[in-house]
Symmetry: D2
Subunit: 430 residues, 4 copies
């Protein structure tokens, strides 16, 4: 029997208030889609099956190098975090798994597993951390980790990743995500080629230790925390890594890790074509790695990414089974609300992409009818699929309006009374 952090009564009451409107909206949308030969329930079922992992670090208030402003009831440790994650899943039914970050979430694996089971949560990809120094660590990562000039430092970083795999095995995870901060702040600081050779050698050791049914995700990023060069700076380098390592190695795409103006959906298509798309860290960005809520700034871009994913699914593209994960920094919102909303936005983009009339699109593309091709995408995108998303939640026990229901539940006030307040403060690292 799954432990419920939000009372079922609250959900029922809140749903009751909205049931009639939801039924009407769903019926109206169903009628309209039916006119175009689309069965709304088929879409709803697919949406209900679509899941995205929540990052454990996402339920705490994020910050910048300038400051962090905690909210009420900040989670104290991974067990609090799992409680918070379970709330998101309970209301959205979209986030059945949590992605852990080691050492931030380090705890007894058995206890973790038991907690997850109790809450009805599974464990997604494990994330290693060699971009900051853990207390007592023998070798500092100030000048790099997996690509460090010093062999002992690299060995320590490799070892940490192996430990992450071990923890993950105990928890039922099936993937390791490796993102590092290695790079340089000055021209000449690092020798690009020797640095990347060291990186590849370290990764090869990690890859060797990967269980057969696991996947290794490497994540590229243009800059930050390194500000002149970054070892895994773009998808080109990321592809070289995955290609060098072997068939269990895949590229992870974080939507905020690209150069300005980059056509991200095209990168997604290329990685699918060459069998190396591992999955996503969903979020949104306007300037850099802003880690804003998914779909909050450029919702059409999110749709265009999902357009590629649905297309690949339909084509049965080889080796295509991407992992979906959120990676955001919630600086000014209740993190639980942002994650509820983001899971919803991701499903929205998926639902819209499912509505694209792909036969018509094929014809327009093959006849160079650019206007009608793009209009075909736009028609799907313009559809207000909220009734479908709500229905998918409703039918699986979630909330028609999960944010309103969350607010009605008083969860935040409850945990705020249990968890000590944290003072804000300067990052001090301007």
């Amino acid at each position: 029997m799954t432990e419920q952090k939000i009372s079922g009564d609250v959900i029922a009451q809140e749903n009751e208030k909205r049931a009639a409107a939801q039924a009407a909206d769903y019926a109206a949308l169903g009628d309209r889609l039916a006119r175009n030969g689309v069965d709304i329930d088929t879409i709803t079922t697919k949406v209900a099956e679509f899941a995205v992992a929540v990052p454990s670090w996402g339920v705490g208030t994020g910050g910048t190098r300038f400051a962090r402003f905690p909210g009420a009831g900040e989670p104290r440790h991974i067990f609090d975090k799992l409680d918070d994650c379970s709330v998101i899943h309970q209301l959205t039914r979209a986030t059945p798994t949590v992605s852990l970050h080691i050492p931030w979430d380090k705890a007894d694996a058995k206890e973790l597993k038991a907690k997850g089971d109790a809450l009805g949560l599974g464990f997604d990809a494990m994330n290693s951390n060699t971009f900051s120094d853990a207390p007592g660590q023998a070798h500092s990562y100030k000048f790099g980790s997996l690509s460090h000039v010093d062999a002992a430092t690299r060995a320590q970083a490799v070892e940490h990743n192996l430990e992450c795999i071990e923890i993950g095995r105990a928890l039922g995870s099936k993937a390791l995500t490796v993102w590092i901060g290695d790079g340089s702040n000055f021209p000449g600081q690092s020798h690009f080629t020797r640095q990347f050779e060291r990186y590849l050698a370290s990764l090869a050791e990690i890859y060797k230790a990967l269980p057969d049914d696991w996947r290794l995700f490497t994540e590229h990023k243009m800059y930050e925390p390194a500000f002149y060069s970054t070892v895994v700076q773009d998808w080109g380098t990321n592809y070289l890594i995955a290609n060098t390592l072997g068939e269990k190695a895949y590229c992870l795409v974080d939507l905020g890790h690209h150069a300005p103006n980059t056509n991200i959906e095209m990168i997604v298509a290329r990685l699918i074509q060459f069998g190396k798309l591992g999955g996503f860290h969903f979020n949104d960005s306007k300037y850099g790695d802003d880690d804003l809520d998914a779909g909050s700034v450029e919702p059409y871009r999110l749709f265009l990414v999902f357009n590629e994913l649905v297309d690949a699914e339909r084509r049965n593209a080889g080796g295509f089974h991407p992992a979906h994960m959120i990676d955001q920094s919630h600086n000014v919102t209740d993190p639980i609300e942002s994650l509820i909303s983001s899971a919803n936005e991701i499903r929205r983009a998926y639902a819209q992409a499912l509505l694209v009339d792909r036969s018509a699109l094929d014809l327009y593309q093959d006849s160079n009818d650019a206007l009608m091709a793009t209009e075909t995408l736009k028609r799907a995108y313009r559809t207000d699929v909220e009734p479908i998303l709500a229905e998918a939640r409703l039918r699986t026990g979630g909330a028609i309006d999960p944010v309103a229901t969350y607010r009605a539940s008083g969860y935040r006030a409850r945990v705020a009374s249990e968890r000590p307040a944290i003072a804000g403060g300067s990052g001090g690292i301007v």
Copy 2:
């Protein structure tokens, strides 16, 4: 008698080693410049008079939201910081003033003044901080400070700025720099116009309290810590502020606070033309507000900025007396070395700009001879002015090679033995 943190003997010894080469290089360059009608000593004198302020926060190791990796002998407080700043000035003779950040540098003003006097250091512009919460602060700046929707929060932020002015008066400072993090992370979070009206009203109160012989510098920045919109996002808004407030209000230009591809030297020219250039926060950047060492990534851009400054000087542009300050984050170097080197780079750009043959340039510009106009700039820029910079230091008691002399002095090891080691660690605010 000024307190010397580096023994004069060390400087003398190190200079002695390099004296012959310096003399030869200076003579050779002097000959070459003379051939073009330029008197090297005139340039050297001007360079020796050129000063740039050091930021107190710059002598500590900086970091990112991901981590900070402290070095040995991190300064514990403003008095340690002033010691470090004095080393930079002793070796470069280019940084006679320090810019303080309140509350980070809060201390008894009399003690501060005495310490500065003892070290031969003055106090440059004061910097207020309403982008993070100080312990015990009544109202949080999570959702803004000078532009906050709540009047009490705005009043608190105004009050803090008034306090900065008071401290500055006691120290002999003549300017207040206001940079805020106010903005928003989501479309719709803030009403752009009402937010800016509140900002202007708060600034008007600060402006009213400004002593007659002070200047108010407002600093714009495109993004970070806010990631969808920033209240003072660019020079256009910054100009509106300065223009609205009055004649003591000026715009501060930080070289890393602009949109990608921005022509910064042109912004400098526009602000000069309209009498509103207050000064600079020097640094360099490749991606965003990277706060890299001045001139380390795009040295020609730094030169082009100084080309505008020297031109304005020559034209006696009205109201032109810009403040020069460094604002950098030293994440992977000894901050003292980076600041020595940066002060040097800034003087280098100034020296190169002084060498531009401006009569020739005028003629080329007026005859649309684009190639020779740009070549005129390049000829000045290509000149290796290091002998001039070294001579300017040497003649004023500094070091021919200040970084090597600093290393020879053993200063870092000495303070490392006096100041407790600090563990690195995760920013925890990813």
Copy 3:
């Protein structure tokens, strides 16, 4: 009696096919909006009143410096262009005016006026052209026009603008739009300040000749055709111009003329606040001044711009009556179809912005409820307002589906048979 380029029968037939679905969709949307207290007909009426000007040059196939690939039936001259423009208006009822470009559209003013009257088209802002040399022109604009170092060249450029005003007066236009290509390709080529002084002096002469009931729109652009610096490079410089000239001078915002990542809606808000928003050149862009179809790449950005406009309207912001114009380059579509579609997208953003619950938004903004504030915008944006747009067209005599109706009409084939084919070819100016 207005001359109709598309037979009314075709429109009626095409509308008939779609009438039932349109009625159903409009009713369903009306029901849903009514539930939120919104009267759909009020929105429809406002949408029907919203007009946007079509650029005469937009009905010809555009190109790049690499090539241009003309389509069938390219307009030969302004009279053909007006025919094409009338088709757009006939089907959309959204584009009652045309914006002319001189000398491209030079013709006898009386004939032009008569042609416009016959087609039911008025004349919007006049556009001068001093970014290319007209045959037989005495002074070349190779090195600038209104800011040229040579007084005679500047005078010629001023004179051309005065002529544009004269033509416009005869046609009933009420505004002059000045966009120039002046700038430089090399650091040092131009003296920023002297160049801008010359520009301002030239503009002052044009401004002096402006009729009392006219407005002067100056348009900024970051780069292209100049690639190192541009005289009117951003809204900051544009504001300085408008502010220097006087109360009839306003800033024009082209959505594609900004630095990467720029928050354009915020610039719009600032210009409104300071009484200097003149209007828009609508289009979309992903990389630079791509001149793509409005709303085709970042539709949410277009909505956010309109969110500011509707907000200003509601606040009765002083001096707020922006001009709406399209400025696009149709390289791969039938230009008439792109303009039909773009007019529709612009009205779509307007309709969505009208649906924003502004009282709720105010409350969320004032309580720092970032999540619900942004959700309030999103709810309006997510509404599929196509039934409203179609209804607005239908009620004013336009087409429910204007592109399909245009295709059904055979207009393109008809003009292709009357207008000679043009060969494509290399721009030859790589």
Copy 4:
């Protein structure tokens, strides 16, 4: 006996004027380098051996989509262009080869070869053109060429490339450069994967026809002329192409074809490491593909690229023998002067890179001494190597000051009297 377009007397006279200064500067620099253990003559010899190809299209005045402003004496055809190219080589001794563009330079191959021989010029990589339609062409490239949906259009584009190879064989060329404009202007217009599959299939056909001793260079570009997506958009896709095709296929790097803020020198390093760097199209850019003169805007970036090249040379990196070509658009200068100056700038970056103390750099890199590592690069970069460049020219029969000598020669006036003037004019393709 090579035909000389500039009289040897003029060169001798101009050199004579500058001989003493050059000797003095060369000696002084030699002394200084000797102090650091560097033999200046070794550097000079290497510089003298360094060559870069001139693009035939570069000697005509370039333009933008807005306008082109021809200069006096524009070359009428490839034979005029070769004359102009020979002037550049005669004065710089740095540009012994010319890169042709077909069909722009189409002519009888035997005549071409003879002309080249007479002028002492060889033929570098051949450039095909399927980004514009040639008169009489059966299938238009409006919607693509090598990746077009239509097989006949693709076949025509392949055929054109085969013809380029044939012409190149006759001329002694050893490489084909393929840059295409294929892409899309609207989301959905093209299916990314099918489009790229078609591209790869077309390239495979071209590759098959490549002579054994030839190389195939594919060139990526982020955008323009396509403004939503480009088939070969970045080095990641470019690498996939080269890797798929085979060992004669290489990636060409144009310095202006990248996203904003991209670290280009790192891409160069990656391509070298994976054996796929084919060569360069040198130029400079501030905003997009500005095609500005090499080193004119970011000279340090050019140096950093050459730093990688010299490092690879020293390491004997496998398969490393990059082609050096200029690709610029000379809109406001005499193209001959810009090409002279650019060849000089490219050699300058090479000379500076040769001066890097690589043993010291290795040590600094291996000890994480970021400050001294970057200073090691800067010291080399700061060296004013103009005396070396001038000496390299002088010793091989060129001019100490090639631009001044060119101006003294009266060449431009001479050809202006022989070649008819061309009127400027609007691109007409805004």
